[in-house]
């Protein structure tokens, strides 16, 4: 089955430094990955996604790297700000168990990023 994990449960970073959050997945056939950010007391919020035909994708201050050989992806946040403090989840898309044509996201356990001012 699919499992999605994170290497570190917590990460503390100095404001202005770059942050790197890692994620490992188990199914080599996994095709589509999403990073979500969850601030305290709020629902998860989409950050960036990447398909398996890419190894890098950039957004505003964020970059996702995908290494299919070792089944690993990472989220890099440039010039980390206090507003980046949150729990970050990687999620992998897979077919749902019920019903043809359904897809679901399997979320990893989350990494809590704390930004030190």
């Amino acid at each position: 089955g699919e499992s999605v994990g994170l290497h570190l449960p917590t990460l503390s970073v100095q404001e202005g430094d770059n942050s790197i959050i890692n994620c490992a997945y188990s199914n080599s056939a996994s095709d589509y990955f999403i990073w979500y950010k969850q601030e305290s007391g709020k629902g998860p919020q989409f950050i960036i996604d990447i398909r398996s035909n890419m190894d890098k994708r950039q957004g505003q201050r964020v970059t996702v790297l995908l290494n299919k050989t070792v089944k690993h992806l990472s989220l890099q946040i440039a010039a980390t700000q206090p507003g980046d403090s949150a729990v970050y989840f990687c999620a992998v898309l897979k077919p749902g168990k019920t019903g043809a044509g359904s897809y679901q996201l399997t979320f990893g356990k989350g990494t809590k990023l704390s930004v030190i001012p």
Partner: protein, 117 residues
Amino acid sequence: DTAVSQTPKYLVTQMGNDKSIKCEQNLGHDTMYWYKQDSKKFLKIMFSYNNKELIINETVPNRFSPKSPDKAHLNLHINSLELGDSAVYFCASSQDRGGYSSYNEQFFGPGTRLTVL
């Protein structure tokens, strides 16, 4: 305007009671979801509806019953509440049921914190 809204935000109740959580989205999306997040922040899908049709039904006790009166609403009714049901429940929606060639961003509501005493 709130895209995905849930009521109530907090719900405290006794074991054995029956309760409902309501969810509404004004994004015009076809697909809605219920997730459960435990105390360790683990986020797991429970149900998904596409245009009022159940398409994902994970291993969830029969005491949980989703109801979708229309594609903008997905309510969750829980019978005979147990201590282990205490968690934060998130509703989410997406443009469609997703897939490897689709746009898979899910928009999450603010969550309902359920505490069973």
